[in-house]
Symmetry: C2
Subunit: 331 residues, 2 copies
């Protein structure tokens, strides 16, 4: 295992320390239990947004804390759900009197721990709504999931719901737009190489030098099938077609195209994937009006990428375009 780490047991804490020091104008950390909130705390009268999950997917979620996106983020150990005793104080800290939306990727541990935390927060008088993201079309059930997995589409949910909260929508409206995004976003990924969880010390799975895994999850969970390494355009089609089919895209629809790197793939390769995904969408008559290319929902140092398509309408486009000021997304 070759990583820039000290004791693997301290990897998450030391990374969070660095993150908070580098972005002290945006995020502040709370210790014991650990979670991060926007500097200045909850905004009175506005809905707060909280997300979280296992670490190893950076910049998700702490990189999306800031004006126009999340109010707080809760990091678990690597690929491990955060605990209710971490999540509950984050929910309380995010409440500015208008309630809190919890955005939870669909993994059994995350869902259960957020449910418990939400009950505890509600017992303290905070109104909480929950939206579970499940945008991965690759598999119906998975190693850690009943139902589809929540993956890169979660960034779209967090950005757009964050903009709705920022403009002053009430909790029901923010939850509704988050659900609308989740209902209109689909993702599928590919792994070229496995990743290694620091405290495990060996790759999460074996992938021969001449094979790739189509439909990989963001924790290295099995996908749809293994195939021999193929040209990028062919791989991209294997990702884009199921996404567009499942979304039921019809000609003339406007979409956002997100090509997400898994952590170890050069940006230049992500643009090669973007180029072909866009061509395929245009071949279906879709119109790509917004784009995002980069490492947003990663799997440690895994080489690979995912393709996400979000069906847009005027409201979603306006909310996507609204200002955002976080460590990882800013405009």
């Amino acid at each position: 295992m070759k990583k820039l780490l000290n004791d693997p047991a301290n990897a998450v804490v030391e990374s969070v320390e660095g993150f908070v020091a580098a972005h002290a104008d945006i995020v502040e950390a709370h210790d014991d239990p650990i979670f991060g909130t926007r500097v200045g705390g909850a905004v009175q009268g506005k809905v707060g947004l909280v997300s979280g999950g296992g670490s190893g997917h950076e910049p998700l979620h702490a990189g999306f804390v800031g004006v126009g996106m999340l109010s707080a983020a809760v990091p678990g150990a690597v690929f491990t759900s955060p605990t209710p005793d971490q999540i509950t104080p984050a929910l309380l800290a995010a409440d500015g009197g208008a309630g809190v939306l919890a955005i939870v990727k669909n993994y059994t541990g995350d869902v259960l721990n957020f449910e418990t935390a939400v009950e505890l927060a509600e017992a303290e008088g905070v109104e909480v709504a929950t939206v579970v993201t499940d945008d991965d079309v690759a598999v119906q059930d998975s190693l850690y999931t009943a139902g589809r997995r929540g993956v890169a589409g979660t960034v779209c949910v967090e950005k757009i719901a964050g903009a709705a909260a920022e403009r002053g929508d009430d909790l029901a409206a923010v939850a509704a737009v988050a659900s609308k995004v989740n209902a209109n976003v689909r993702t599928m990924g590919v792994a070229l190489t496995a990743c290694t969880v620091p405290h495990v010390g060996k790759p999460s799975f074996d992938l021969p030098d001449d094979e790739i895994e189509i439909g990989i999850g963001i924790h290295g969970e099995p996908g749809r099938r293994r195939i021999p390494l193929a040209p990028a355009d062919e791989i991209t089609q294997m990702l884009l077609d199921p996404v567009a089919d499942d979304l039921g895209l019809t000609s003339g629809e406007e979409v956002l195209l997100l090509v997400n790197g898994m952590g170890g793939t050069p940006l230049s390769e992500l643009y090669v994937v973007y180029r072909q995904a866009r061509k395929l969408l245009e071949g279906r008559g879709a119109v790509v009006v917004r784009s995002l290319v980069g490492n947003y929902v990663t799997s440690l140092e895994m080489q690979g990428a995912s393709v996400t398509v979000l069906r847009l309408d005027a409201e979603l486009t306006e909310l996507w375009d609204a200002p955002v000021h976080t460590a990882a997304l800013r405009w």
Copy 2:
């Protein structure tokens, strides 16, 4: 070789096509010869900035084309200098009547080809000044270099000189501030793994599973020494100390700290490096007032990182903070 590519011979062109399609609001491409310019072309009366170099370091340089930074970028083949016939039209396109600053990383091929291109552009009546960046403290001469190599500090030069051009400084002033940044910025990097040039198909060098290369160049050129894999804090000290010593940092000075990923390193690890580099700087009495952490000057899928320190003063801080709107840097 596992990459998301089609024919390796088309890797750069296809990546540029994807890049320009994704960022059509910021950059437009010119074919035959290939280079990229800001949408809308040169700004009349303002100094233009042009940079370029071998591909494989993305987002450098095309990711830094846009308002407040570069006017044009010229991509060579992977790890290969662009040719004068590419650079010359980029220099001409960047001229809004106030002249052009060429920012060139110190590699023999880049320097020679830019020199030729500058002569050709001057013959067309464009005034051009050149600043060569050489921030890498690792080695005095190198595989492709007489003198020190230009590496991640180039981002600081491009950002700050771009802001000076944007506020209307004349060519001599923009060149002076670019030189000032270069004189006050130092970098050193480490490789955990080698990278593979697509058209070569095998790793650029051999690095055993239990060794790392301290002082690596951004093309995999040899650094100072190979050592056994060590804890991140120790590695960080081997990078930060030579940088701070060479810069002659004294107590109380304000600095920008850039921790740059080589392409294949997870963001979480870069923050572990940032944490320790910042501590070491603070231990020297320096004050870290600005930070940047991420993949900015990469070496394909290499795992590793570099640490850059820029000595700031009021002018440089103000120019760093000035608005920038590019694909890879935006605030």
